[in-house]
Point group: C2
Chain length 408, copies 2
C-alpha cells in the first residue's frame, strides 16, 4: 500500500509538532523529538518559527532527568480562535473557543424552525457576528466556523442530503452560503462526530481509545472515534444510530427503514407516550399542543429525576431502548467507552447512564474481553457546538496546518 | 498525537516496498520511489537485497515514457508460503497459499464437533502436515499458520473467550498449542475478518474502499475493512453482526443479547423452520435427527434455487433478516460494498445477494450520498481459510517484515 511521507512539507511538520504540544499540554523539545521522530535540529527550528508566529510560548521548566532543566513549550491559547455553530430546528448554539479548545464565549437562540435557508442563515450569521463582537476577539485570529447538524450530509460540498426541516434545505449550499455572509471558512460536519471529538480534544478520554458517542437532541445520532480520529466510512455518514432498526416488525420511518431507534427512544416518542397517559399532562403541566417538544421532554425528565413514577417509567423505557442500540454499537464497533452527549441527556443523564450501563453489561458480545463504560459528556449540552469549533482547530493542526498563512 | 516514523528500521522499509510491489503486481524502481516516498538510491538497495533473498524477481520491462524502458520487479510467488486453517465445529478447511496469496493446496475434513482441544488440535495439525507433505512445499519457506474461527477471542494470547463448542475450549491456548505441535508460528483471528482481507489482497475490491463482509457458516459473523486494514476496535472483537439484535422483543440468545440475527437468519434457524413445515422433510429428503444441519441447510438452499416454493420462501425469509442487519451495518459503518462470504452463501448466493441488495437500496441511511453494492466473495466457501493464510502474509509484509530472518 502506498504511504505518503508524513514530512513532505514544512506545513505538515508544523501541524504535527503543534498537535503533539496540544495533546501533552506542555512539552520539552527533547520530548517533541521523541514523540514525532523528527531530529532535534528540526524541532528547534520549527519551535522557533512557531514562537515567532505567536502560536507557541515558553511555559517554565520541566523536571530535570539528571541534565539541565528542560524548557517547556505550550500552545498560546489566545493565538487563534474558532467558532462552533450547532444548527437544530429548535435550538441553535454558537460558541467561540481558543486554540486549546476552551470555550471563551457562548450564545443560544431559537432554531430556524421551518424558515428556508436563505432566511435562516443570515440570522445565524448575525448571531456569530454579535458573539465575536461581544467577545472582542480579533477577527484576523478566527480560523473558521464548524457548522454541525444532522445528516445525511455531503461534507465536500457543504450540503444536506435530506429535505429537513423543509425541501428548501435539501442540497442547499449551507456551508458555502454561511462562509459567504461571514467571510470566514466554514466546514460542515455531523453533530455527533463533533461532540465526540470534543471529548478527545479536552482530554476526557484516553487518546488511544476506541469510543462511541450517542448524541441526543431532537433526534438521535452517533459517532465513533479511533485514536483521536472520527470513524468516517465512505462518505462521513457513519454511525447514524438513531436510524438503525431495533424492531424488524416495526413501523416504517420517514428515513425508509423500519423500527428506527429514534421513534422508540427519542424525545418526541417520550412526549407522545406521556400525552397518552391519562392525567399526566395535568400532573406535569405539559403542553400537548406545543411544537417545541424538547421543553416538554425536559419537563418529563425533571419529573423522572424527582421520582414521579409515570415519568420515571417513561424515561427508563427510553433508556432501555437506547441501551439496546448501545449494545449494537458496542458489538459492532468494539468500543471501550460510550459517551452520552447532547441537550436531551442533560436533565435525566444519570438515569440514562445507569440503565444503558446495565444493558451493556448484560448483553455486549465482547464483555468477556473487556468492560465498556458508559459516561456523560464533559461538554454537556454544548457538546456539538464546542466540538464543531474543535473540528476547525483539528483540521488546521492535523491536515493543512496552514496557520502560517493566517498569521495576522 | 505522537506518530512513530515509518522508516525507523530497514525491516519496515523492506515490508513497505514488498507491499507496494504486491499491490501493484509489477512495479518499476521509479514507481516504487514515487509510491513509497523513499529515495531512488534506497529503493535500488532494498530491491537488490530482496532479489538476493529471492523474494523479488525481475519481470520484463514496462512501457517507456520517453527514456529507456523500465525494468519491472514482482514478488516471487514461490519464495514463501503460508497456511490458513478455518476451524469450525462441523467442517474445517486447510489451505496453503503462496507469497502472492494464491491457493496452491487445499483440504477439508470433519470439524472437531465436541472433542476437547487437546484431542482436536493434534488432528488439525496432522491435516496441515499431510497437506504440506503432499504439496512438497519446502517447510523452511512456510511463514506460519493463520488459524481462524468464531469469537469472542483474545488475539494476544491466542485463546477463545467462549465455551464453544464445549467448556474445555474456553481460555484454552489453541494458537500456542497448535504452534507447539507444528513448530510454526500461529496467529489466531476472526473468520469474517480473514474472509474480508482475502478479498482485498486478491484485488477484488478497490484498495481505498470501506467495505463490509457478512460471513455465514454455522454461525454469522462480520467484518469491516478500511483502506486495506481490518477495523479492529478495542480488542478485535468487532462487527459481530450475528449477535446484534433485530428484535427488541425477541428471545434471549446464549450470548446474553435478545433477538440475535443468527437465531432468525442462520442455517440452524432455517432448518428448524423447514422441519416444522408439514411434508417438507419428506419432499426435500431432510434428516430431522442429524447433527450436521449445514448439510440440511444446503439441501434447502438447493431446493430454493430449483424453485421449490416452501424452500424458496424459507431462504428469502433468511435473506430478508440478513438484509435487515446489513442495513444496520451500512448505516453504522457507511460502507460502499458488502461482501457475502462463507460456505452457507455458496448454494443460494444469488437469492441472498438479490434480497439483501433490495433491502439495502430501500433502507440504508446514506443511500442519497452513494450506492452500496452487495457482492459475492471471490473466495467462495474457502474465504476464511484463504484469508487466514493472507493475514499471515500481511502480518509479515506490513508489520514485522522480518522475512530476512526466515530466509532458508
Amino acid at each position: 500500500m502506498a504511504t505518503s511521507p508524513i514530512w513532505a512539507s514544512r506545513a505538515k511538520t508544523r501541524g504535527l509538532v503543534l498537535d503533539v504540544i496540544r495533546a501533552a499540554h506542555a512539552s520539552s523539545r527533547v520530548e517533541l523529538a521523541a514523540a514525532t521522530g523528527l531530529t532535534s535540529a528540526t524541532i528547534s527550528e520549527v519551535v522557533r518559527e512557531l514562537m515567532n508566529d505567536g502560536l507557541v510560548v515558553e511555559a517554565g521548566t520541566g523536571a530535570s532527568r539528571g541534565g539541565k532543566p528542560r524548557t517547556l513549550v505550550q500552545l498560546n491559547p489566545a493565538a487563534r480562535y474558532s467558532v462552533g455553530v450547532q444548527l437544530e430546528r429548535n435550538t441553535c448554539v454558537v460558541v467561540v473557543v481558543d486554540l486549546v479548545g476552551r470555550q471563551v464565549a457562548r450564545t443560544s437562540f431559537h432554531g430556524p424552525a421551518v424558515l428556508p435557508p436563505d432566511q435562516a442563515l443570515p440570522q445565524v450569521a448575525a448571531q456569530v457576528e454579535a458573539l465575536l463582537a461581544a467577545t472582542a476577539v480579533d477577527r484576523a485570529k478566527v480560523l473558521g466556523v464548524g457548522l454541525v447538524g444532522y445528516g445525511p450530509q455531503d461534507r465536500r460540498t457543504g450540503t444536506l442530503l435530506t429535505p429537513q426541516p423543509t425541501e428548501a434545505w435539501l442540497n442547499y449550499p449551507i456551508a458555502g452560503r454561511l462562509a459567504e455572509i461571514l467571510g470566514l471558512p466554514v466546514l460542515l460536519d455531523n453533530d455527533a462526530a463533533a461532540a465526540a471529538i470534543g471529548e478527545y480534544w479536552l482530554g476526557a478520554v484516553d487518546p488511544t481509545s476506541t469510543y462511541g458517542c450517542i448524541y441526543m437532541a431532537t433526534g438521535i445520532g452517533g459517532s465513533v472515534v479511533v485514536a483521536g480520529e472520527v470513524y468516517r466510512g465512505t462518505s462521513s455518514n457513519s454511525v447514524e444510530i438513531g436510524h438503525i432498526s431495533i424492531d424488524v416488525n416495526g413501523d416504517e420511518c420517514t428515513c425508509g427503514n423500519v423500527g428506527c431507534l429514534e421513534n422508540y427512544a427519542g424525545p418526541s416518542a417520550v412526549v407522545r407516550r406521556a400525552i397518552a397517559i391519562p392525567g399526566l399532562v395535568q400532573r406535569l403541566a405539559l403542553d400537548p399542543t406545543g411544537g417545541d417538544f424538547l421543553t416538554e421532554f425536559a419537563r418529563i425528565a425533571a419529573a423522572a429525576n424527582a421520582g414521579e413514577p409515570a415519568a420515571r417509567s417513561l424515561i427508563e423505557q427510553s433508556a432501555r431502548y437506547l441501551g439496546h442500540a448501545a449494545v449494537t454499537m458496542s458489538t459492532l464497533f468494539d468500543v471501550d467507552t460510550i459517551v452520552l452527549a447532547g441537550p436531551s441527556f442533560t436533565v435525566a443523564g444519570s438515569i440514562y447512564q445507569a440503565v444503558i450501563q446495565h444493558e451493556i453489561d448484560r448483553r455486549t458480545f465482547a464483555r468477556r474481553a473487556h468492560p465498556v463504560r458508559v459516561v456523560p459528556s464533559i461538554n454537556g449540552s454544548d457538546a456539538a457546538a464546542n466540538g464543531g469549533a474543535v473540528l476547525v482547530l483539528q483540521n488546521e493542526l492535523k491536515l493543512s496546518a496552514n496557520l502560517t498563512g493566517q498569521t495576522p
